[in-house]
């Protein structure tokens, strides 16, 4: 992550006009937060894993009757990580760092692709190649026996720990034999044969070498049983560790990075939709989600000059005073600002459009309003979510992100679902209702805005009154709900209704989609049917979708092949090609040589055809030797 951040800084900082430190601050805050957040999310599971490895190595040294009689199994942690494989790398990285720091210096991670069909030897070699690798005879082949000898020599030689290991001394003291931890990052991808052999060998050394395995499992624990026969799995003592599901993970990320008024950069509904869509439909990867967020952030600061105002309130107000003439004109061009102007009186309209200093003043006020809007928006959103998230059939969604999307799209109170939700809330039992309202009060208490305080007193008053007089409950309930309804109406209007919202909101969903969701096939087709799109050469410009004669050979061949049926006669194709190319060369249509196939044209044609074959548009067919088959639909 760090590298990306630096690299991104380098790209964008020159673009950001003159040292607006607020942006730097926002960006660094944004990046740091994502790092910290991910560490925090993994904290609990990593801690329990650390405990596990410590416990294993301490129980190993017991020598009572039971432990003597028990077959020595290899302690194994099965870590359930979910199918969001791109996220796993970071988890394993911090896991192995933490293990090295506090449990044992001997930690090795193996990946299936590093230990292909050749056998476990690769694996043991990798283990041996870990930073503390033993110096063995050059000619010797690595084996677990050698590893074992090395380990014994090492632990004997330095019972108090070598210099490198002194980071946490009190742990070292109690265990003179730090475990050797092997992390299998992607268990499913391993060749079962290799894994079985490896476990068998390890079990032969387990009494001399304190091994511990950690299996990273993406699907379900039953995979272990599918991969390992009983004779092998009986050598393991498996404990299960379940990590947070990726949707919970996402909810936290959204909660901390998007539904926070302290982060001023926002996404509009469509961009949110794209990012969440990629997550739910394609990869479940929180890391990719955050990357998308970062992309949007950079795009926003890169493409929107007015983004200088997207920072802390103080800084933003100062930046308004520094705005240049072109930027002020840009503000006047903003659709949201135009709407705002139209609502003003005639004289004011003129002032706004002509007087720069007046515009600056108004802008400062508008920026203040925008900040206030955000400050109120999220608490009210959370309130509404607490009230509606437990309703039957979830009219406003189960997750807060669904509600947020609804609110971003349009006035939520005009939504049918909102009305039905409100009806359902009315039908709630008294106890439930009171506890929900109490939760709302807590949320509002957390946000210390002035307006909120008024709301708070009102709500609290409602509650206290309810406690006293239970009989006219319905009246009070209606009152409370009406109050909440009013809150929603006054604070949850979509951001588009706010003047200057473009400053904070990134709205180009198409850009984000194009970057995150690559469509290779569409791009190839675009390149072939409309070469101008990529080459930007004026001679290639053409109307009505035709390909000009001067287009590259492959484009011409492609265009011609589109007109054919499933089977294409190569000779006919060559003739047609040669005619087109001759026309492009400016040969006289009536001359004798027009459209004649010469060697050069023939070679060019063959090259174009084999390129098309390579791209998967055609293939040779056995039905007719001088024909090729089309692999795409259409034509006939």
């Amino acid at each position: 992550m760090g590298e990306i951040r630096e690299c991104l800084y380098k790209i964008c900082l020159p673009e950001l006009s003159g040292g607006f430190s607020g942006i730097k601050l926002l960006m660094s805050c944004f990046f740091v937060r994502t790092d910290v957040l991910q560490d925090e999310l993994n904290r609990t599971i990593l801690d329990s894993l650390l405990d596990f490895t410590r416990k294993c190595s301490s129980t190993r040294q017991n020598s009572d009757w039971t432990s003597q009689m028990r077959a020595s199994e290899i302690p194994t942690a099965a870590l359930m990580l979910g199918v969001n494989v791109p996220d796993h790398d970071m988890t394993f990285q911090s896991l192995s760092d933490m293990l090295k720091q506090s449990v044992s210096p001997h930690v090795a991670s193996v990946q299936a692709k590093e230990c292909g069909g050749k056998g476990f030897r690769d694996q043991s070699e990798i283990i041996l190649c870990s930073p503390h690798s033993p110096r063995v005879h050059r000619s010797m082949h690595c084996s677990l026996g050698i590893l074992c000898d090395w380990y014994t020599a090492r632990t004997k030689k330095s019972p108090t720990g070598t210099p490198g290991k002194k980071r946490s001394s009190q742990v070292r003291d109690e265990q003179q034999q730090p475990p050797v931890v092997i992390i299998f990052k992607d268990l499913e991808a391993f060749n079962p044969r290799v894994l079985q052999d490896f476990i068998l060998i390890c079990s032969q050394y387990i009494d001399r070498l304190p091994l511990t395995f950690i299996f990273g499992i993406a699907t379900s624990p039953s995979t272990i049983q599918h991969m390992l026969p009983h004779s092998v799995s009986s050598l393991l003592c498996i404990e299960l560790f379940q990590s947070l599901s990726c949707t919970q993970h996402l909810a936290t990320v959204i909660d901390k990075l998007i539904l926070a008024s302290r982060i001023h950069f926002k996404l509009n509904g469509k961009v949110m939709q794209v990012l969440i869509g990629v997550f739910l439909y394609h990869d479940f990867s929180v890391r990719n989600f955050i990357k998308g967020l970062q992309l949007a952030l950079l795009e926003h600061f890169h493409s929107q000059p007015l983004s200088v105002l997207c920072c802390k309130k103080k800084q933003a107000l100062f930046n308004v005073t520094q705005l240049s003439k072109p930027n002020l004109d840009r503000i006047r061009q903003l659709p949201s600002f135009k709407r705002y102007v139209e609502k003003q009186e005639a004289q004011e309209q003129v002032n706004l459009m002509t007087d720069d200093s007046h515009l600056k003043e108004v802008c400062q006020q508008l920026i203040k309003d925008l900040h206030k809007y955000h400050k109120n928006y999220y608490p009210i959103l959370r309130c509404l979510h607490t009230l509606t998230s437990s309703l039957p059939r979830y009219p406003l969604g189960k997750q807060i992100r669904e509600l947020y999307l609804i609110c971003l799209a349009k006035n939520v109170w005009e939504n049918e679902d909102y009305q039905s939700a409100m009806k359902l809330v009315k039908m709630l039992a008294k106890g439930e209702m009171v506890s929900l309202l109490q939760k709302c009060v807590e949320i509002l208490q957390l946000s210390k805005s002035k307006k909120m305080k008024n709301a708070l007193t009102l709500l609290e008053m409602n509650e206290s009154r309810r406690a006293k007089r239970l009989s006219p409950f319905e009246n009070l309930r209606n009152e409370a709900l009406e109050f909440i309804d009013n809150l929603v109406k006054s604070h949850l209007s979509p951001p588009e209704s706010q003047p200057l919202y473009e400053v904070c909101y990134y709205s180009s969903s198409a850009t984000v989609r194009r970057h995150l969701n690559a469509t290779p096939r569409t791009s190839i087709q675009a390149a072939l049917s409309n070469p101008y799109y990529y080459l930007q050469n004026d001679s290639l410009k053409s109307e009505d979708g035709t390909v000009s004669n001067t287009a590259p050979d492959i484009c011409i061949a492609y265009k011609l092949h589109l007109e054919c049926g499933r089977l294409i006669n190569l000779y006919d194709w060559l003739e047609a090609y040669s005619t087109v190319v001759s026309a492009a060369e400016g040969n006289d249509q009536d001359s004798e040589n027009f459209g004649k196939v010469d060697e050069v044209k023939h070679a060019r044609f063959i090259r174009a055809v084999s390129a098309l074959e390579f791209l998967g548009f055609i293939k040779s067919t056995k039905q007719k030797t001088d024909h090729v088959a089309r692999l795409t639909w259409g034509g006939c």
Binding site: W65, T66, M69, R70, A71, E73, P75, T76, A78, M80, G82, V83, V85, A112, K118, G119, R121, H137, S139, M140, H141, S143, L144, G145, E188, A189, D197, I201, Q204, A218, T219, S220, P221, S222, T223, Q225, H226, H230, S233, S234, L236, C237, I238, E239, L240, S245, C246, T247, F279, L280, Y281, H282, D283, F284, N517, A518, T519, P520, R521, T522
Partner: protein, 414 residues
């Protein structure tokens, strides 16, 4: 039994010592001893020796020390090994027979074909007093090389009988209990487990895990040591449960020990490994998997009937071939090309999906998750073939989450 222990030329004391170490193997141990005498040996596990280089190295290492092993070239051949061996043994000639013991010798079949035959005549090749012993769980007939070879002497170790197991296991008496009590425990244990498990190591492990539970009524003072019936009544359901859980490694032995200390209800909450089968997948991955399942279990010619809106009239008799029906699920998944998978995918998924790179990468991640299996070779980029590797229950559960009635699309259930 003492008669068996007498072999000409051997110290009776030593024979006894061996017999104590290996109970119930007196006959075989005696025979081996009489054949071999003093043992100077190299033990090599064939699982561990993935390459013959490693095997040679280990043999030389244990006979002549690590200097000899380093004389081998980087990837030695059999003749390299013979050369180094001869050279070394001329320097330090054998006073007694040297033995090479090969564990899991059946794995030698997978190596170079000549290796096994060469090992069997190693004595002649290296001109030394050396003997190779092959240990295997497979009958010799099954791995005799077809080129023929020097026939080894066969010594068969029969399975332990129940009484032999009883005798061996009873030796590990818990220090604070009487031998008779422990023997009774072993008897009960074997009564439950003997029908499913004869593995001595595993039985000893199970005995250790469950002994504390067996002693429980004794510690509470309810039962006397001699009251076997009551003890049996107490432990039997417990052992039955152990057979279904810890023996199958549904729960690990550590968890099993914790469960014994917990109350009954709490312990019930602990689920075994195979209870977790639910897999959370992205939306399109689910549909890709459904499409793969349909492609694997439906004959390709029926696709038209299932996925074309206006498939016209297909004659029923023609469509339902008798022998084909209901057999697809018994025969297992069939391979299908990528094109067919995508065609079915686009027709089952309810919205328009752009053919983006992430759709394709989802296919390959399904392969890494082993929910799909790639049938064609990795190198074949053009039209790869796959098989669906999930069960009907699994796919039904997946289909339910996306409201897709998969049974309606399966030829077998039509």
């Amino acid at each position: 039994m003492t008669a068996l222990l007498q072999h000409p030329g051997y110290d009776e004391e030593r024979l006894k010592g061996v017999a104590e170490k290996l109970p119930c193997r007196e006959v075989q141990a005696g025979m081996l001893l009489s054949l071999m005498g003093q043992l100077s040996h190299a033990t090599v596990s064939c699982v561990e020796c993935v390459s013959i280089a490693l095997l040679f190295e280990q043999v030389l290492l244990s006979f002549f020390g690590c200097d000899a092993a380093s004389l081998l070239p980087r990837s030695p051949s059999l003749s390299d090994f013979v050369r180094v061996y001869r050279q070394q043994c001329s320097q330090s000639p054998a006073k007694q027979t040297r033995y090479i013991v090969m564990e899991k010798a059946e794995l030698l079949r997978d190596t170079d074909a000549s290796l096994l035959s060469a090992l069997l005549r190693l004595q002649e090749l290296v001109e030394d007093n050396v003997t190779v012993i092959l240990l295997s769980e497979i009958a010799w007939d099954k791995f005799r090389p077809n080129t023929g070879c020097f026939e080894p002497l066969l010594l068969h170790f029969p399975d332990y009988s129940k009484s032999e197991l009883q005798q061996i296991l009873s030796q590990n008496v818990h220090p604070s209990y009487s031998a008779g009590f422990y023997s009774a425990y072993i008897n009960i244990l074997l009564g439950v487990f003997y029908s499913v498990c004869r593995d001595l190591r595993e039985l000893r492990h199970l005995a250790a895990l469950n002994f504390s539970k067996f002693c429980e009524p004794l510690a509470e003072g309810k039962v006397k040591e001699t009251d076997t019936h009551k003890l049996w009544k107490h432990i039997e359901p417990h052992l039955k449960k152990a057979m279904q859980t810890v023996y199958l490694r549904e729960v690990s032995s550590l968890q099993w020990e914790q469960m014994q200390q917990m109350e009954e209800e709490e312990a019930g909450a602990l689920r075994g490994l195979s209870a977790h089968t639910h897999v959370e997948l992205p939306y399109y991955s689910k549909f890709l998997l459904i499409a793969a399942y349909l492609a694997s279990y439906n004959p390709a010619r029926t696709d038209k009937r299932f996925f074309l809106k206006h498939h016209g009239k297909i004659r029923k008799t023609n469509f339902l071939k008798k022998n084909e029906k209901t057999s697809n699920h018994l025969l297992g998944p069939k391979p299908f090309p990528l094109d067919r998978l995508l065609a079915i995918f686009y027709s089952v998924v309810d919205s328009r999906v752009a053919p983006t790179a992430s759709i394709f990468s989802q296919i390959s991640s399904l392969v890494t998750l082993q929910l799909l299996a790639q049938v064609s070779h990795d190198d074949q980029l053009d039209a790869p073939k796959y098989k669906c590797a999930v069960s009907l229950d699994f796919i039904c559960a997946i289909a339910r989450t996306v409201n897709f009635d998969i049974v309606k699309y399966l030829y077998d259930f039509l």
